[in-house]
């Protein structure tokens, strides 16, 4: 089985991917704005300040929008097609592109509460933050 495209980790993103590898969803946080942002950057994209730290997120969020890929975006996605690609608004504010794991695509809707689940990429290193409906049983 082909693995999904692996993120090319850099100095901005290393703490984030180190976090997911330990089953922690971590977000960069701007002390001046008192708010989290995503993706990680050298400067806060809101106030452009550089007084930043990493904080753990709750892992809970809401589906802002989604689509169902009816074709695989590359060989790695063949086996799971059709699959749900979604924008999830985290409780802390930032919006993530991710997948919502469901048995059938029609089980996803805008406004749905979702929680993070961690899925190893298969490269023995990277772990992706995916989401599942909050009420769903353990997968």
């Amino acid at each position: 089985m082909t693995n999904r495209p692996a993120p090319v980790i850099d100095d901005d993103s290393r703490p984030f991917w180190q976090g997911t590898a330990r089953q922690q969803l971590r977000l960069p946080y701007c002390r001046a704005c008192a708010a989290a942002f995503f993706y990680p950057r050298a400067l806060c994209p809101r106030c452009h300040g550089d007084d930043l730290e990493w904080r753990n997120a709750s892992g809970r969020g809401t589906v802002y929008s989604y689509t169902v890929s009816r074709r695989p975006a590359g060989p790695a996605f063949q086996a799971i097609t059709p699959y749900v690609v979604a924008l999830v608004d985290l409780e802390e504010g930032p919006r993530l592109l991710t997948n919502v794991l469901v048995d059938r695509p029609d089980q996803v809707h805008i406004g749905q509460s979702v929680t993070v689940v961690y899925q190893p990429l298969g490269d023995g290193e990277t772990v992706l933050p995916l989401f599942q409906p909050e009420a769903a049983p353990e997968r």
Binding site: P7, Y39, R70, R71, L97, I110, G111
Partner: protein, 387 residues
């Protein structure tokens, strides 16, 4: 006296079934289009002192420094050069930049070129690259590029405003009706709303027929000053207003999924031109997907936010409707060579010159052109006038 920038030549490349009728490399395509546009203007390549281009060819490689490669191929040593690439909207931005350069006397004759052989080379591959930098937060999740981002915008629009698949389909049906009047269009057989809805779903809620074509193509636009144009035979088309902007590359960074920067670029362009919405006789609006048109009509202020679904209903955008757009068939039915923005300008100019035969919008004086690039990432708006 202020120098005014005008368009004096346009050309597009003949296609057959979406591929280059006369064949050619991506550089040949642009050279031929450039020559055709210059011939129409009555100018020679030797007089070109401004060169502008954007594209996806030759990257990495000679296309990485695009106008340098193109200038070398064409034998041009420009004093104004611009490889601004903001996706499909790049050419509307080029038009603005060239207008500023001409008005300021920074150059006298500007040539904007585009070419693509993506269809004949089957080379449209937006995926498959290692997800570096910002793409590491997107590529691992398998969003189809670029349709997935547009699909999520459409999904949100439906959720917020009750927009329907039928309303989206109206955009595709109108585009095809215009294409049926254009012998140069790639897809000319009429389609219905039901045909669009029955076409395969690609990325919910967008079907195959909600998406643009994948074709080859190329074209060129030649600009100069109004003063210079007086000694030329071609009828000059005035560049009256423009605006450009962008907000995001990755879709998660789009501030509001149903509002594009056309809200800003349209307002600035129309204000610069001193026109109101009612003054626009014909519009060319980038149709990468049907949803792009709905979002753009709202952002430009032709209808209220959330109102575009109703606005386009009952054939309003189609021939005979009271809001003619994409009169050559647009990206959905005429051609879509990877980046379509140059074609928007070509068709707007032809409408303003009154050259469009059966698809001519009667007495078209003012055209609005809006390009959208990336994944709703960038927009650029231009207002053109025949006098």
């Amino acid at each position: 006296m202020t120098r005014e920038a005008v368009i004096v030549g346009v050309a597009d490349t003949p296609l057959q079934n979406g591929v280059l009728r006369d064949g050619g490399s991506v550089l040949q395509v642009q050279a031929r289009a450039a020559k055709a546009a210059l011939d129409e203007a009555g100018l020679s390549m030797a007089e070109v002192d401004g060169l502008l281009s954007a594209g996806t060819w030759g990257v990495p490689g000679p296309g990485s420094l695009m106008t340098i490669t193109l200038g070398e191929y064409l034998g041009i040593r420009p004093r104004f050069t611009d490889s601004t690439n903001i996706g499909g909207a790049a050419f509307e931005a080029h038009l603005a930049h060239a207008a500023l350069a001409i008005e300021r006397g920074y150059c006298d004759v500007a040539l904007i070129c585009y070419g693509s052989t993506q269809r004949s080379e089957s080379s449209r591959t937006l995926g498959g690259r290692a997800p570096t930098l910002t793409m590491q937060y997107e590529s691992p999740f398998g969003m189809l590029m670029p349709i997935g981002g547009y699909a999520m915008a459409a999904m949100r629009h439906m959720h917020d405003y009750g927009t329907t698949g039928e309303q989206l389909a109206e955009v595709a049906v109108a585009a095809r009706a215009w294409a049926s009047l254009n012998p140069a269009a790639t897809r000319r057989e009429p389609i219905s709303v039901d045909d669009v809805l029955a076409s395969p779903m690609v990325s919910d809620p967008l079907h195959k027929l909600d998406a643009c074509l994948v074709t080859d193509g190329g074209g060129a636009v030649v600009m100069t000053s109004a003063e210079r144009a007086r000694s030329l035979n071609s009828k000059p088309i005035y560049v009256r207003g423009f605006g450009e902007s962008h907000t995001h590359w990755t879709i998660a960074q789009m501030p509001d999924l149903t509002l594009t920067t056309a809200a800003d670029t349209g307002r600035r362009a129309m204000s610069m031109a001193g026109i109101s919405h009612d003054d626009v006789d014909v519009a060319q609006i980038y149709a990468s997907f049907t949803i792009t048109v709905l979002l753009t009509l709202e952002a430009l202020g032709f209808c209220p936010r959330g109102g575009a679904g109703e606005f386009v209903a009952n054939g309003r955008l189609a021939p005979g409707g009271d809001f003619p757009i994409n009169t050559n068939g647009g990206g959905l039915s005429c051609a879509h060579p990877g980046m379509y923005g140059l074609y928007l300008l070509v068709e707007a100019v032809r409408q303003l010159r009154g050259e469009c035969g059966p698809r001519q919008v009667r007495d078209a004086r003012i055209a609005l052109v809006n390009g959208t690039g990336g994944t709703l990432s960038s927009t650029a708006t231009c207002v053109l006038s025949r006098d």
